[in-house]
Symmetry: C2
Subunit: 147 residues, 2 copies
DNA sequence: GAGAAATTTTACGTTGACGTAAACTTTGGC
DNA sequence: GCCAAAGTTTACGTCAACGTAAAATTTCTC
């Protein structure tokens, strides 16, 4: 029995949630909608999260709060990477090279799409920042006039 | 009667909403929560929006989708600028200079706060972008291997 | 001035992303 | 082996930000 299936070093839902800054309910919700399945369960049914799971939570949160994706979109985005990870196991070396290419291409396409969204946000943020800076300067000069 | 109060060149809710890419209901909702009042109303009660109103809608949408503020926060942010604009009218020149300073300081503070949020987002987006780029490179090299 | 199209108010419905309560079971320290 | 703490499922509640439907005006076009 390996480390993961024995539960050594794994986090139960309370600690996992606390460390990620979310509620246990949120993690159960993510699981319910197929966004994040814990690495395994104890015999009694308690969820156990790995460090990799923790990273995924962070990832989810960033896609949500930073890029404004809803959880359905995030699921689609992560699915691409999941497929890719699954591919490493389906690694009967060279067996089905066409499929490998297909999956890699899709993951790559998803990645590019996310890139575009990020770039778009960056551009809009830059515009906004320059407007804010300009405003800040005007405020400062008007305040100076008041003396 | 001037251009605005006569309704010349003003937009009714349907066109205003269409141009802004939102629904009429959204504009009525913004009005209901004190976020955006149309410049005036026709005798029959129809809302009429000016170009300035249109700009405000865009502004609201950016604060919402780009920065993730909720409409209550956006109202607070815009209130600072409104107070400042109102100050131009209450311009009995020099009458109450303390109040002018006070309003300017608050508007400035709000502006700075928004700036911080933008800067924070920019930093996180940059991090994310570099991760995405890195991933993109890895995908490309793995695809190359397949030949 | 008549009829179609757009708008009005009023009010209930919806959706996403959880929160919360209840009743029950596991887990971990003593 | 016991018991408090943490976890489980089930199910209803909530909140923001609108969507949608209905019935009554208003506005625009002819």
């Amino acid at each position: 029995m390996d480390e993961v299936s024995s539960g050594g070093g794994l986090l139960r839902i309370g600690k996992a949630a606390e460390r990620a800054g979310v509620s246990p309910r949120t993690l159960r919700w993510y699981e319910e909608i197929g966004l994040l399945a814990p690495a395994n369960y104890s015999a009694g049914g308690a969820r156990r999260y790995t460090e990799e799971d923790m990273g995924r939570i962070v990832h989810i949160r960033e896609l949500q709060s930073l890029l404004g994706f809803d959880l359905g979109e995030i699921r689609d985005i992560l699915r691409g990477e999941d497929d890719l990870a699954g591919l490493r196991h389906e690694y009967r070396s060279g067996a089905d090279q066409g499929r490998r290419r297909e999956i890699l291409l899709e993951a790559s396409a998803i990645n590019d799409k996310v890139c575009e969204v990020v770039a778009g946000k960056q551009a809009r943020l830059e515009t906004m920042m320059s407007e804010l800076t300009e405003k800040s300067v005007r405020y400062a000069s008007r305040l100076k006039e008041l003396d």
